[in-house]
């Protein structure tokens, strides 16, 4: 038995407050705030929610905490925690649950106060006797080693990596909610403080507070609600490894598995997608995902993004929110990756709106290129 294209839809989507929230705000406060906004977005009530999906590094039992906070007893709950892609997996799992009648209205929520409490406190690294003694600055050093390998094998340059950050900044300047407000040049990326070679701080995602929530229900019920439904056309999930020293090939991610699964389910091909929301934890990640999701041959990602190709006005609209590099990165950013894709399909993106965006792809990455999950969203016209 497999999931059915278009059987469920996103009906509500919202961010919590983003950036630097008030002292003593909890991650669950942010989940709850985003949930109320997502409910308001679609006209559903708290009591309509009967499925809770959540994950957070600061809240180990997130679905339980959120159920307690709201005083609801969900019929179905799932706390799959595989890093930043957890929420794309939650969409796939919610689809299975809704299709089988295990719940009808699924809430997916996330919150983090990592800027307020520090990243070290929000997301302490697990000790590994085979890696920790070498003091890699995780996760940056893992992605930096992937970049080193890509540069070695395919001639990718630091300037090409910087193009990803500059494109994100140009998009971010069109998004009033973006954390970064000033223009950025390739030169500035290269000359910024070095973090883990070849990455400067501008190759690395932001460290801010924030959260989000989306609500999904059956296609039939979605049609009765306030906003135009955004249908789930395809989902694909794949695990590769946990530790970077166990990743088989640092230049090939499991997006090469999750992407084709999602496209197959959706009956679509990469060229059908009008906008891509790709988890940009570091400048190397969109390059790897463009290759692994079928937008260019393996090794060509650096050359593909050059000359503003993924910036506003470029050949492919990628990370129109400004991404984790310029808009918001509250630790596990996957839910916000999806929210931008959902808004693009709805046509709510104002100055950064991609024309005729009937299909958008949201790709989540977790751990150190460890888990990869792809979701294809479509408008009513695509179902």
């Amino acid at each position: 038995m497999s999931l059915k294209r278009g059987s469920i839809a996103v009906v509500g989507a919202a961010e919590s407050d983003l950036g630097q929230v008030a002292p003593n705000t909890s991650p669950v406060d942010l989940m709850a705030q985003a949930t109320l906004r997502a409910l308001d977005d679609c006209g559903l009530k708290l009591s309509d929610i009967d499925g809770i999906f959540a994950a957070a590094t600061q809240v180990r039992t997130a679905p339980m905490n959120l159920a307690e906070y709201f005083g609801i007893k969900p019929r179905y709950f799932d706390g799959t925690a595989i890093g930043g892609s957890s929420f794309m997996c939650h969409v796939a799992h919610a689809q299975a649950a809704i299709e089988h009648g295990l719940c009808e209205v699924a809430l997916i929520a996330y919150g983090s106060t990592q800027r307020s409490v520090s990243r070290a406190a929000a997301s302490p690294r697990e000790f590994n006797p085979y890696e920790s003694p070498y003091r890699p600055f995780m996760p940056s050093s893992a992605y930096a080693m992937a970049a080193s390998r890509h540069m070695h094998q395919y001639g990718t340059t630091r300037e090409q990596l910087a193009e990803v950050a500059v494109a994100a900044r140009k998009w971010g300047l069109l998004n009033p909610k973006a954390w970064e407000k000033e223009p950025l040049t390739i030169e500035e990326v290269l000359k910024a403080r070095m973090v883990s070679y070849p990455f400067t701080v501008r190759d690395c995602c932001l460290v801010v507070d924030g959260g989000g929530a989306i609500l999904l229900t059956s296609a039939a019920r979605a049609k009765t609600l306030k906003k135009k439904p955004v249908y789930v056309l395809g989902v694909g999930e794949a695990l590769s490894h946990t530790h970077i020293s166990s990743m088989p090939d640092l230049t090939v991610t499991a997006a090469a598995e999750s992407g084709p699964k999602a496209f197959k389910m959706a009956g679509l091909k990469p060229s059908d997608v009008k906008m891509l929301s790709l988890y940009d934890a570091f400048t190397i990640t969109p390059i790897l995902f463009l290759e692994d999701l079928g937008y260019c041959p393996k090794g060509e990602g650096g050359r593909f993004v050059a000359n503003g190709a993924i910036a506003p006005g470029g050949k492919l609209a990628v990370n129109t929110s400004g991404g984790g590099l310029s808009y918001c990165h509250p630790g596990m950013y996957g839910l916000l990756v999806m929210i931008e894709a959902i808004r693009q399909v709805r046509g709510e993106c104002d100055k950064r709106q991609v024309k005729n965006c009937d299909v958008a792809l949201a790709h989540g990455n977790g751990g150190v290129l460890s888990s990869q999950c792809t979701v294809l969203f479509g408008s009513a016209a695509t179902v």
Binding site: P133, M145, M194, S245
Partner: protein, 126 residues
């Protein structure tokens, strides 16, 4: 493996204390990190072997912690067919290059950190 008596990391560490970089082999394939079951087959028949300690840099980075000297972190492919994280010493961290041949060396560790293996340039090419 009788986990009431020995553990995978404990056995690895015993070898390290003797100056040996140990790994496991199952069905002719090198396994690292050490485990109680071989990946894919699930076989508990894992034979311990000692590596010659020669390998090639697979990937590399240099970490810049504030107020510290730059620190190399690398992934090393050992000649016996397994990969591990380590550090290449006795060389400018930025000069550690992919493809470079390296030789293992044990660091003694201290009260908090048990002894652990690092690498130094070995010269030559594989």
């Amino acid at each position: 493996m009788d986990l009431m008596k020995v553990s995978p990391y404990g056995t690895y560490l015993e070898h390290i204390r003797k100056g040996e970089l140990a790994y496991q082999v199952s069905d002719g394939k090198a396994v690292f990190y050490p485990r109680v079951a071989a990946p894919k087959s699930g076989s508990p028949d894992l034979e311990w072997r000692v590596s010659k300690g020669l390998g090639t840099v697979y990937a590399t980075t240099v970490v810049y912690y504030r107020n510290e000297a730059p620190l190399n972190v690398a992934l090393i492919d050992l000649d016996e067919g397994f990969r591990m994280m380590s550090r290449v010493e006795d060389i400018d961290p930025l000069q550690v290059k992919i493809g470079m041949r390296v030789q293992v060396r044990m660091l003694p560790g201290d009260e908090k950190q048990p002894p652990y293996p690092v690498f130094t340039p070995a010269g030559g090419a594989k």
